[in-house]
């Protein structure tokens, strides 16, 4: 078989890859090329799945079985200079349930070439992106009930470390729309309450301590780490949008584990890839191996209509087309009533519905029917 003939039989990516490899290894003999083409087609056809194969359940079983062996809530980096990231089953629930709030959002920030081995730069960079609140820079926060004011004693050492000047603090306080008169006295800042109520004073104390001074929001912890040839900054908390704007950041490799953030910043295809990567990570870290195609199917189902949907009542399962299938999953009454109101028709084309009414399911051997040809009498 000539290589051109196989173009129609193979998908473009496979065909291109085969062509590139043939070129790379400088194969010229027609006989060899023909053999390679035939083998490629054979391998491709073998990897195809038969029509009416129930891949969804096979995927579910293939993910579910190793899932039973996962240890719950292991924190095996206890105390060591590693970020504490949710793992195991809780993380799986987070990913596939498409939880809006990840319990441990975290980023891996890579720096572009000239700086990525400069320890001083990395240290400076880490300090700059770390979210700093007024309370992080203060030694003491006191409520002065006599003068009706909140007293904040600044920690000058910490200010030097974090590269924050007094002017910067005062500027941020003025930007923060806090309703109090601000007085500055040496290393002390006073917030004088405008009305003389004790409750308001305590509220003021909380507000004052939460004033944002510098850094990037949500980045609550930074941990620069020396990898083989460069520094990588691990963070607790994630803010992909703001980090990617920084010119020194290598935007191609920098990544977060928050799938919704990826979906918002980089788009749905990136979110799909992130689901697959994060899912594989969880299983691999537990020493379990599953075929990536099961997770790909899962990610496809979760992202196929442009937004990230979870597997569950509010996501994929709740949006099945069949009334009976939805009702059999959770909150039966809600679905049945809404179906009645909207005059829904169940086409009985899914698996669950047909099991319910005791009919052959439309997968596997049940997917095909014999059509009888009417024979006209002569």
């Amino acid at each position: 078989m000539k290589i051109e003939e196989s173009e129609k039989l193979l998908p473009k990516s496979v065909f291109d890859e085969m062509k590139a490899k043939i070129k790379e290894y400088k194969i010229s003999s027609d006989k060899t090329i023909s053999k390679i083409t035939e083998e490629t087609i054979k391998a491709y056809e073998k990897s195809l799945i038969c029509p009416a194969e129930s891949i969804g359940i096979i995927s579910a079983q293939s993910i579910g079985e190793p899932g039973t062996q996962m240890t719950l809530n292991t924190k095996h980096f206890a105390g060591v200079s590693e970020m504490n990231v949710t793992q195991g089953l809780p993380r799986i629930i987070e990913i596939f349930g498409a939880r809006k709030q990840s319990s441990t959002p975290s980023m891996k920030i890579y720096i572009k070439a000239p700086h990525n081995n400069n320890e001083k730069f990395i240290r400076q960079f880490s300090a700059n992106i770390l979210e700093t609140l007024l309370k992080d820079l203060s030694k003491e926060i006191n409520v002065d009930l006599i003068n009706f004011r909140v007293e904040i004693v600044l920690d000058l050492n910490e200010m030097r470390n974090m590269n924050v000047s007094m002017e910067k603090i005062l500027k941020q306080i003025s930007l923060s729309k806090i309703k109090a008169e601000i007085k500055e006295e040496g290393d002390k800042i006073y917030f004088v309450s405008k009305n003389n109520e004790v409750n308001d004073l305590f509220k003021l104390k909380v507000q004052a301590s939460e004033i944002f001074i510098s850094g990037i929001k949500n980045i609550t912890q930074v941990l620069p780490q020396k990898k083989i040839s460069e520094f990588v900054i691990l963070t607790a908390g994630s803010n992909l949008k703001k980090i990617l704007i920084i010119p020194e950041v290598d935007i191609q490799r920098t990544i977060t584990n928050d799938i919704f953030e990826i979906s918002n910043v980089l788009g749905i295809e990136a979110a799909r890839t992130a689901i697959i990567e994060e899912g594989m990570n969880v299983f691999n870290e537990q020493g379990l191996s599953i075929d990536v195609r099961h997770l790909m199917l899962m990610a496809d189902v979760m992202t196929h209509d442009g937004i990230v949907k979870g597997i569950g009542r509010y996501g994929v399962s709740g949006q099945k087309s069949s009334v009976l299938a939805r009702a059999s999953f959770e909150v039966a009454l809600k679905h049945l009533f809404s179906a009645a109101v909207h005059n829904e028709v169940d086409e009985l084309k899914g698996v669950v519905e047909n099991i319910m009414i005791n009919q052959p399911i439309p997968v596997g051997t049940g997917a095909y029917k014999l059509k009888l040809k009417e024979v006209k009498k002569k």
Binding site: I57, I58, L336, I355, M356, I357, N358, I361, A367
Partner: protein, 602 residues
């Protein structure tokens, strides 16, 4: 300041809690306070607990002061001459009882020679760290903790003679072992709790080897001829009760033979099931029964009465509510006729079944090594020693290394020495006869000192190439027997509401093909097999193709009738599960119109 709680209620505070608790203990030892009082000072919570409540488990210990036991030689001499008794020792402040709380504050020495200044108490005997259950296992200081605990649990399940008046008692689901034996290897506890007089097992010859795979994975192979000679034989008793209930208005239940000729309907079984009943409707003692035999015939008034029918005595039909035995053979052991508190006639019938060990019955040693019978092998096929001894049990060697029950191996040697020497071997924890002594004694008795012997294959007569560890061990038959557990069903009762099979062995229920099993069939694509598995409540329903509701057939006119579209409705027959029909009905009750759109298969 420390909070002081008396029986869990705060009563005050003290400044120096330790001094206070020491004073309390001193007063207790001087008999100025009751000896049922215990004190515990919890340093972490900074609270002092004083307890005198009933229901605390307490145990006696010898008091130690300044590193010396208060039970001195003088007192021991007096005890030997019986001048002193136990209660005198308590009164003298030599022995006191500690509860679990006060034990936390104490430092208890196991042996007198270990005593130092810090000790507060001394064990009366070092085997006292085990209770009466765990203390029954010999050589348990050679076993791992987990196995000792398992053994203690299994000892409570062993069959024996649980009470000597069992013939007079009606206990549910109890067994009596026919020939229980005193163990050859015993412990001190046996004599003290008088376990000697009601033992729970038998001494058997055990060979640790494989037997054609029939003892893999904790199974054991039993010698069929030993079983034939009465090894581990037991009797199982099960009571059935029957009460004549009285309802309002002369509607009483009567125990008598339910006779269909006298208007009794809904008979429980076939005619032969009632064959053993006597004139009073009750079965006679020693009657042989088979599955479903009726034990007491009883006739009840009909459950649902309609208006005027209630007053027409002669028209009243009667239901059979006889008591039948479950799916088991046996004999009627005793029939007891009595009255309840309310004066109702009360019949109590006890069934007796001989339980000969069969494949699947559970056995265990006193070392937490439990297993079920995998095969009963005739004696002629069992391996034998050069002296012609056949093992009763063949035990798998794979059960030993991971469980680390070395005590069982020592017991086997000890059992062999005891059986050959005609004596009991002491296996009390910490003070047992030493393994070395037992080995030398076994050697003196003319056997290999490690307990192994050359065995010959029972089938071929050839000598086995390896020496087999063989000896005597005490085995218990546990109360779990297959005949109480096995269950199968082809057809059987269904639930009234859903018409699906009932659940559970006692109701002759079906074996559920669950959600995950269903998924397997879906994944495999076996659509029609799946349909067949789930059609236990299959029903062919007439459905009106006009309005899509379940309708019915008027068989006199052979025409379909629909309750909406009226007579001569276009009815088609649809196969569906009854549960789905039920769902449609429930939807109707919710004012939802579940219309079935009928279409011919294309």
């Amino acid at each position: 300041m420390t909070e002081v709680c008396f029986n869990g209620v705060i009563v005050g505070t003290v400044k120096n809690a330790e001094e206070f608790s020491n004073n309390l203990k001193k007063l207790r030892r001087n008999n100025q306070l009751t000896n049922k009082l215990n004190v515990h000072y919890d340093k972490k919570a900074d609270s002092l607990q004083v307890l005198t409540e009933a229901g605390r488990a307490r145990r006696p210990l010898i008091i130690v002061e300044n590193g010396k036991s208060k039970l001195n030689d003088e007192l021991i001499e007096k005890l030997k001459s019986r001048a002193l008794k136990w209660n005198d020792l308590v009164k003298l402040g030599v022995i006191e009882y500690l509860d679990a709380e006060e034990e936390e504050d104490s430092y208890i020495a196991l042996n007198e020679k270990d005593l130092n200044e810090k000790h507060t108490h001394l064990e009366i005997i070092n085997a006292g760290i085990l209770g009466s259950q765990a203390g029954l296992a010999p050589f348990s200081n050679h076993n791992s903790t987990g196995r000792v605990m398992l053994a203690a649990k299994m000892i409570t399940q062993g069959l024996g003679i649980y009470t000597t008046n069992f013939n007079l008692r009606i206990d549910s689901d109890v067994s009596i072992m026919h020939y229980p034996q005193k163990p050859v290897v015993d412990t001190m506890i046996y004599k003290n709790v008088k376990y000697d007089s009601h033992p729970i097992g038998q001494n058997v010859v055990i060979a640790i080897m494989t037997n054609e795979g029939y003892n893999m994975d904790d199974a054991i192979v039993l010698n069929k001829d030993s079983v034939g000679l009465g090894l581990f034989r037991s009797t199982f008793f099960k009571p059935y009760i029957c009460e004549e209930l009285r309802y309002s208005g002369e509607k009483d239940e009567i125990t008598r033979l339910p006779d269909p000729d006298k208007g009794v309907s809904r008979l429980r079984g076939m005619e032969e099931d009632y064959a053993k009943l006597e004139d009073d409707g009750i079965i006679y003692p020693e009657a042989k029964i088979h599955p479903n035999s009726v034990l007491v015939g009883k006739v009840s008034p009909p459950r649902f009465l309609m208006g005027t029918e209630e007053f027409r005595m002669e028209m009243r039909e009667k239901n059979d509510s006889s008591i039948a035995c479950e799916r088991e053979d046996g004999k009627v052991d005793s029939v007891i006729l009595t009255e309840t508190e309310d004066g109702n006639k009360f019949v109590n019938i006890r069934i007796r079944q001989a339980r000969i060990p069969e494949i699947g019955d559970k056995f265990a040693t006193r070392h937490g090594q439990k297993g079920v019978i995998g095969m009963l092998v005739p004696k002629k096929d069992m391996p034998f020693t050069s002296t012609g001894v056949y093992p009763d049990i063949i035990f798998s060697p794979h059960s030993i290394p991971s469980r680390m029950t070395v005590g069982q191996l020592i017991e086997i040697i000890g059992g062999k020495v005891g059986a050959l020497g005609g004596r009991n071997v002491d296996g009390t924890i910490f003070s047992s006869e030493s393994e070395k002594d037992l080995r030398t004694q076994l050697h003196e008795l003319g056997f290999r000192e490690n307990g192994s012997e050359t065995l010959y294959d029972g089938k071929t007569g050839r000598m086995l190439n390896v020496r087999i560890f063989i000896g005597n061990v005490y085995y218990m038959r546990l109360k779990y027997m297959v005949s109480n557990k096995y269950h199968m069903r082809t057809r059987g009762p269904v639930q009234l509401l859903t018409r699906q099979p009932t659940e559970g062995r006692s109701k002759d229920g079906g074996l559920r093909l669950g959600e995950m099993e269903k998924d397997v069939l879906v994944a495999h694509g076996a659509a029609l097999l799946l349909k067949e598995r789930f059609d236990s409540d299959k029903e062919i329903m007439p459905v009106c193709s006009k309005c899509g509701m379940i309708s019915y057939i008027n068989y006199y006119r052979n025409k379909g009738v629909c309750s909406i579209c009226g007579e001569d409705a276009p009815v088609t027959f649809i196969e569906m599960s009854y549960a789905f029909k039920l769902l449609l009905d429930e939807l109707k009750s919710l004012c939802i119109y579940p219309k079935l759109n009928i279409k011919y298969k294309d």
